[in-house]
Symmetry: C2
Subunit: 683 residues, 2 copies
């Protein structure tokens, strides 16, 4: 019995417990059709068609438990409900101001014929650009506690194609160079994992609303069939939940083009609305920091003669920030705990006590006077037990000092994060090691967000759990690292190749903002090793990589050497009302246009891989009724991102007046890029 409901609400109706047949639901435009059913043996499954062709073949659904029989077979469908939604909501900050949420929904209620007659619901929402589904467990006596050994969700991709992926099941979190391979050659991968089927469609697999559950890796079982593999736990059960609960949404973007992947808002739409209320205290901003000098080994995090985080250094950075309009100054190495061997244990970190040569009060007073914030830094060394003990006091202190945003870190050894227990709510029983993306870590990251919100502190988590769109529900989760960022250009072996950012755009960056920390205008890493990038490309990053917190990562001495380029960084916004992709091919190039949220200006950024190419832009996104001054920062003649330092710094900066519809051809050198500001001319 189907009851379509439009607009705001969906209505759940329980149909009488008569076994029903296969149920289908399609996208609003009808192109995607999802079927939910059970096999002859009662194994629940789903499948996805698009334009009449299979995208996901029959894929099993189910669970193994550590202490109960599997919920895998002998199910009957005892009811189904449907709903539709077509709403619009506003982000307090983001890549877009208004987001349309248009989908159709189907939920099937399943009951197993085991003695416990266990039930679960599978709910699917189909958008024009993809599918999301999740499991919902009611409170039931026969499953008071779900000790999940494994989630058995399959993704039987209907044919082969190309995949862009990073491995999972290793320990170095998400910090890998992406691999490009046939889908049929994948092993175990993290999400987002993006694919281009030989048949045509572009897919990206991920999850939304990862709360109190373990992260989903994807393991290729056979052929082109992947299956969920949850990050393990020292406790045995990968997920432990009591009573009623929902799993995260398993998401599959399905689009005609890479542009479709980029522009999708499905992940955010599957997350719960804002629970924090007024978040006007979350301020998108740009910052500089005592950071690059640390990574170049000029300064140390630890105390000593080369200590980076000193009052004197910081005041210099505050002055520079004030002069050039940067909202914040990040200071790393300010706190006790860096001396000795913190790596792999993090036990000595204090998040309230500063080193003697860093006067926390003097520095924050000075910053406030200059109209600049200090951005806090809480590196945990993976010891989440230690951080949780101190975080309330630390965030309270931050609020008092005017520290509005904190960069957290979870640098850990192969063993993983150090925790007290599998369950954050239990008293500490001794150290256990947990995966940085297991349930315990996911609980921790949300606890941090809530503790920080209490004190109006925004969180930028490095070495985090993957982004799954929780920024909608907790808008103080402003950014994460969660991929190889610019620090690898300091000391990485190798440094990030030119295909890296053009791949991130279609993989990591689909999941949410990344604190990549661009802007190393000197284009040189540790020991003067060359960074494969032109200087114009560094400017492009501010448009191509979305983050409400963007760093100009280089030292202030280096930034000062490039005043023209720095000017672009000073001007480029970090909060947008719209974002569109003008052109792009995964791992090859990307050209993105964004509209400033606080003015009528547009910005365009483009990057290319190790091939020089010309970006052919049509400025059809501009207002029709006005002209714009385009300031174009592009690779100059003889520029070469893989050449010597001189070649990498060749930039051509020019202006011209443009109007809607005009075409621009912007050449990009190898490992190059461009950035364009489009300011409306005075009427």
């Amino acid at each position: 019995m189907k009851l379509p409901i439009r607009l705001l609400a969906f209505v759940a109706l329980l149909v009488t417990a008569v076994p029903v047949q296969a149920a289908t639901v399609s996208s609003p435009d009808g192109r995607i059709v999802v079927t939910l059913d059970v096999t002859g043996e009662g194994v629940p499954y789903y499948s996805v068609m698009r334009d009449g062709k299979p995208v996901i073949d029959q894929s099993d659904l189910g669970f193994n438990f550590t202490d109960s029989p599997p919920m895998r077979r002998d199910f009957k469908i005892i009811g189904e409900t449907t709903a539709t939604a077509d709403t619009r909501w506003e982000q307090p900050w983001g890549e877009k101001r208004f987001i349309r949420n248009n989908h159709k929904e189907l939920a099937i209620a399943l009951q197993q014929s085991d003695p416990g007659a266990r039930r679960m619901t599978v709910r699917v929402r189909v958008f024009d650009d993809g599918v999301g589904f999740r499991y919902e467990f009611p409170d039931q006596a026969s499953l008071k506690t779900a000790n999940i050994a494994e989630e058995l969700t399959e993704f039987a991709i209907a044919g082969d194609g190309t995949a862009w992926s990073i491995p999972a099941g290793d320990w170095n979190r998400y910090e890998y160079i992406y691999s490009k391979s046939p889908i049929s050659a994948l092993s175990t991968v993290n999400t987002p994992v993006t694919m281009h089927l030989a048949d045509g469609p572009y897919l990206s697999f991920h999850e939304a609303a990862l709360v109190d559950y373990s992260s989903m890796w994807l393991r290729r079982m056979r052929g082109t069939t992947l299956r969920a593999e949850l990050a393990p736990s020292s406790r045995g059960a990968k997920v432990v939940r009591h009573g009623a609960f929902n799993t995260p949404w398993r998401t599959i973007l399905i689009t005609d083009s890479p542009k479709g992947l980029f522009e999708s808002a499905m992940e955010l739409n599957l997350n719960e609305p804002n629970k924090l209320g007024d978040v006007s205290w979350v301020h998108p901003q740009k910052f500089i920091g005592i950071w690059w000098d640390l990574h170049l080994n000029h300064w140390t995090w630890a105390s000593g003669p080369d200590h980076g985080a000193t009052t004197a250094h910081t005041k210099k950075y505050i002055d520079f920030a004030a002069k050039h309009g940067f909202g914040g100054v990040l200071v790393e190495g300010w706190n006790k705990g860096w001396d000795g061997t913190w790596f792999g244990n993090g036990r000595d970190f204090s998040f309230t006590e500063a080193y003697p040569d860093y006067d926390l009060k003097a520095v924050t007073d000075y910053a406030r006077k200059k109209g600049v914030d200090i951005i806090g830094h809480d590196e945990t060394g993976g010891n989440i037990a230690n951080f949780e003990k101190q975080m309330d006091a630390a965030f309270a202190m931050d609020q008092k000092l005017g520290i509005e945003a904190v960069k957290t870190g979870y640098v850990a050894d192969a063993g993983g994060l150090i925790s007290c227990n599998a369950d954050i709510y239990d008293p500490c029983k001794g150290e256990v090691y947990e995966w940085h993306d297991g349930q315990r870590s996911v609980q921790h990251h949300l606890a941090v967000a809530l503790a920080a919100a209490k004190y109006h502190v925004a969180i930028d988590a490095h070495e985090p759990v993957k982004d799954t769109g929780l920024r909608r529900t907790y808008p103080n989760l402003v950014a994460r690292e969660g991929a190889r960022g610019a620090e690898y250009d300091a000391w990485g072996v190798p440094k990030n190749p030119p295909s890296h950012v053009p791949t991130l755009v279609f993989t990591r960056l689909l999941s949410g903002p990344m604190d990549y920390t661009p802007g190393v205008l000197s284009l040189a890493g540790r020991g003067n090793t060359p960074i494969p990038s032109t200087i114009a490309r560094q400017l492009a990053y501010y448009v191509v990589i979305y983050s409400p917190l963007q760093m100009a990562a280089d030292t202030i001495e280096n930034l000062a050497k490039y005043p023209q380029e720095l000017k672009f960084i000073e001007q480029v916004p970090v909060d947008w009302s719209d974002s569109i992709m003008l052109d792009g091919a995964i791992g090859e190039h990307a050209v993105i246009a964004r509209k400033d949220r606080h003015s009528d200006a547009w910005y365009v950024g483009g990057v290319t891989d190790d091939k020089a190419r010309t970006a052919n832009l049509t400025l059809d996104f501009l207002d029709p009724n006005r002209s714009y001054t385009a300031t174009i920062y592009r690779d100059g003649d003889g520029a070469d991102g893989l050449g010597d330092q001189a070649a990498k710094h060749r930039i051509a900066i020019g202006t011209r007046t443009v109007r809607k519809g005009e075409k621009l051809a912007v050449p990009m050198a190898r490992a190059g890029g461009f950035a364009i500001s489009l300011a409306p001319t005075k009427r």
Copy 2:
């Protein structure tokens, strides 16, 4: 300080705790060289060269624990010892009577610079045909209990090539059709996994002496680098060991040819010698059984009008066995517990109580009178807790009734085996689910062997943990299934393809005997579906597939229809003094010759895949001083293993006199084969 010791003993000398440099050890013939060392960061590693070329590049060694820091870095080598061995030992039964154990050994003692100063030893033994290494942990206060979260052993294969593998991490145990793929396209695989490097060598990865530890899967991490992944446990830690312990040997066969893989005895040589003493009560034999009719759905395991395991049916089988010289009759479905839903829980199985229509005493008395054994059947349904409660009583009963061998079974659902606890020695605390190849299961299978040995019962385990050569230490472990066997020819979708057995020979069968249950002479499965095999191929299986327990799997009515072919089965031995490979290519064809242990007869068997081919044999293994009557059972004119039933049954049977060195060209049809008995003519 190296001290080479020849012959029987190896001597361990502890060198004073001065850090030493990289250590190497080579095979007796010098072709293989293994290096053991630590990196600059103190990460222990090994690498393998052969003929001066890399086979395994630098591969890390180490462990993660659930409750301790990793043992992965900051190690120093504090001592090394070497040894050599060149001995010969005799198997009580087997594919070969005498086995040569010729290897060189190196052990490095490692100490970590962590506060606990934890130690471990890595011991490697290098044979002319491969490498085995294991970790050894001493009793140490800083690691009283090793709660292993993961073993981090890498296998950085030096280049790409072809791999033949079955997946791991799924639930259907080892019952898969093998995949042939590039090494660089592997995902997670079980062992043995066999490879042919583009560079030339043949490799096979496995383990030896899997005792009180979890099985090792191999997960491809990147490129052609695999890493150990231990089968999980509901308890969290995949392995829990107290005090001093050794891991299983991780083994890498490295040979010039597939023949070298087949003829290697490295796995047995790495196992401990026989601990059971006199095992003359273990009798290799052939058997028939109430089995195929069950898989064809003619009879039922459960009670009812079509119950298979009745006194009347069994007496018929006993008569047939006696008439045709079969030592045993297997009877499945004899015991209470098959009614209702045993699948996925196995709770109701009794291993001592028979159904009312099966008079256990009458049947075993009748069998004894006829000179035939009943082969017991203990299907656990995966409920190892239930079996462990009853097994002592069951084996005691078996001994009393003259049941000398028992086929056990572990058919389980996706959730795995049902156990009481993670540790067999703890009191039962409630049901938990364990992997069929995790530590708990490994403990269980050894406990079964020991319990059975007490009562002089041999064990043939189906749906078992993989064979790792423990038959040397416990020679009542006569056979296992552990791959797709002939039952899939009854109802498998698809049935075993013609490439299956030619692949098993170089993968599964490298690990030990397989109870494949050949001899379905009717060549038809359920509903008369055609089995892709000629009848001569069925005879070849008795030589190509080694097992001390071989079944003639068809119904006695069907066996009786093919008296000439049955004659071969009646004659073929199941215990050998020597086994050699005459020809073979992985997945394509295999020709094997074996010498009867109890006479001077030789037997040759050959199989091919879906391509017809001629086996060109040179009988250079025969004694030079005598002639032999060769009885050749080969595919006849017009035979076709993929044709209709008539074509499949076309066989040519002939005899000729042959002598050492003669050549025979034996044609094989598609999905065909041949078998030859070579009986010395009277002098």
